[in-house]
Amino acid sequence: MSREMTGAQMIVEALKDQGVEVIFGYPGGAVLPIYDELFHQDVVQHILVRHEQGAAHAAEGYARSSGKVGVLLVTSGPGATNTVTGLTDALMDSIPVVCITGQVPTHLIGSDAFQECDTVGITRHCTKHNYLVRSIEELPRVLHEAFYVAMSGRPGPVVIDIPKDVQFARGTYAPPRGVHHKTYQPKLDADVELVREAVRMMVSAKRPIFYTGGGVINSGPAASTLLRELVGLTDFPVTSTLMGLGAYPASGKNWLGMLGMHGTFEANNAMHGCDLMVAVGARFDDRITGRLDAFSPGSKKIHIDIDRSSINKNVKVDLAMVGDCAHVLESLVRVWRAEAAQAEKQPLDSWWRQIGEWRDRKSLAFRNSDKVIKPQYAVQRLYALTKDRDVYITTEVGQHQMWAAQHYHFEEPNRWMTSGGLGTMGYGLPAAIGAQLAHPKSLVIDIAGEASILMNMQEMSTAIQYRLPVKIFILNNEYMGMVRQWQELLHGGRYSHSYSEALPDFVKLAEAYGARGIRCSNPADLDQAILDMIDYDGPVLFDCVVEKSENCFPMIPSGKAHNDMLLADLSDDAGIEIGSIIDEKGKMLV
């Protein structure tokens, strides 16, 4: 039913009509009319962040843990520019986000007005699409279209820039009526003939592997269920990117662990040695492939992706199916059931025997200690003590992120939120806040590093204000650990500016915010300290003091192939000499 109202009212009405329950935001001059409308209602809960970057990551955490669109509302100028990192992060990781920015009145645009910036110009490269709303007539359409674009196809962030005079103007609002976008209509189903051909290739494979990614998670829970079904039918081994963890359960017998730069020995060797790779919602990122010209040299490759431009971008594939993971997996399951029974399926015994040998290398093993907490041990204990709960994990970026991916195991999709593509330090705490708002009764833990956490530490206030009991588990090694590790590998151990000097006392810092602080440095005390953290009804900053010089293994050094991994040397305290392993060409890579 169409009604007359102001632009600001339309924005709030559209949020309600789109089913938005929570938005993250920060007020300012150019969004005051919208904030005034928020004041008059209680359907949409507004969460006041402490920095607009926090709003963007919180919206991401909310979106990824719930499968809904994350929404943020910020003012013009600095409000908009502060969201750029979060928007880029959402673009790289395909997270549906709608960001409403205020803008100076239309007659002032281009005059370098106070708090003016070219928001659509600045965000054009870090959004899936963006709009500058120039008149009240187009506002309702743009609001609904933005949600459609953010959510459909390969999801991503959308910015709606709304000048203040448009917020005050009156016009006619119409609720969404099945948006039919005239140009943007992603294809969901793959051609049946391609599915048949894929099944034929899968039936005759002797050394197959599923390589799955974040697209399986983004496609929705049905995709994960279908993936499990297809793995069950085919008995193929399955590995996943960082973004795809949880789509296939870590306890499943076909699970090889994560692949890539810090992936397991068995996953990377299986990728290298396979004769058929089935990539599902994964994009052959450089962290995954390592040296491209030595990437899985002997395999045929099938690629399922909703984004046509992901196909043949980095790696040429033999069969591409453009479509939504759930739709294509459903077709594969159906055709496999109908046709594979009578076909000659190759026995996979010798392939599994080979994988068993790789597994026996136990590439995630590390030398534990009873004097100092090893970071891997800390994550293992955190996992053991929380795995039977309803838990959501976020991370910051660095060594702790990789240890979390290696040693925390996920059984379900949407439980793991991490900045994969952009690698944004400071992602984890606001993302945890977003996840906690989507799941108020669940246990939400940000596995953090002491350097990353300081990048968005201010969001502790948000957690306190809204009584969000997020747990921040800091693996504190007093280094930007991954930077330090690379300086050890590449730059002769000259630790240029990677030491975390002048750290705050995290326990006192927690108390200053009104949260609980816990410090633990003794392995014997760790379990009880973790239990104290879980049991505390409120936010906790856990300062887990860990081994300072631990490196993250296994590792594919830059410029090397999957079968050229570095494994931890368990016999030698000093670790392995790796300074000479990366060649000149590899040093140029990151």
């Binding site: 659509v120 110009g121 054009r124 490269h125 899936k128 699409h129 500058l132 120039r134 674009v149 976008h181 005239k182 140009t183 943007y184 450089d286 491209l292 010209d293 984004d307 046509r308 431009s309 196909i311 043949n312 971008k313 980095n314 040429k316 830059s558 410029g559 060409k585 140029m588 890579l589």
Partner: protein, 183 residues
């Protein structure tokens, strides 16, 4: 002579530079603010080449504009450009006219030439041979208007250079497929 070797791109195959082709892409877009910036920004942001670019509205009622872009790269890069363009929300259709093999390409140039005596006569004779029109003349200069394939215009400009070429303004390539069907 010792230009610093550019670092090899870590993510492209070593043979990346060996088979560079030039392709003409026709991009039909919704004529909305910023759409050209999206297309151009895609090329600059991802490091693709633009050799020529033309844009104009072609159907006012439908808000339809046609962008013709001439780009170069390996076949893999051209394929990427094609699909990256398709990802832009207001892009309706992308056609690689070079792959269709049946397309016409035309460019318009205005060429200013200055000279007296024998040079002036040479310029006029060559212009006639190239079917260029005189659109402006003074006692010591001509401006020729010339339409044709880009290589024909290159050729004409090269011939004018020793005669007294002053400056050239070119529109860039417009292209269309042959036959009764639309692209």
């Amino acid at each position: 002579m010792n230009a610093p070797a550019s670092p090899p791109s870590p993510y492209s195959s070593p043979s990346a530079r060996s088979n560079v082709e030039t392709h003409t892409l026709s991009v039909l877009v919704d004529n909305e603010p910023g759409v050209l910036a999206r297309v151009v920004g895609l090329f600059s942001g991802r490091g693709y080449n633009i050799e020529s670019l033309t844009v104009a509205e072609v159907a006012h009622a439908e808000h339809l504009s046609r962008i013709t872009v001439v780009t170069s790269g390996t076949p893999e890069t051209i394929e990427q450009i094609h699909h990256q363009l398709e990802r832009i929300v207001p892009v309706r259709q992308v056609t690689d006219l070079t792959l269709t093999k049946r397309s016409l390409e035309r460019e318009l140039a205005m060429v200013k030439v200055r000279g007296r005596g024998e040079n002036r006569n040479d310029a006029l004779r060559l212009a006639e041979a190239f079917r260029a029109h005189i659109v402006d003349a003074t006692t010591e200069s001509f401006i020729f208007e010339l339409t044709g394939r880009p290589d024909k215009i290159d050729e004409f400009v090269d011939l004018m250079r020793p005669i007294g070429l002053v400056e050239v303004s070119r529109t860039g390539v417009a292209a269309i497929s042959r036959g009764p069907e639309p692209i």
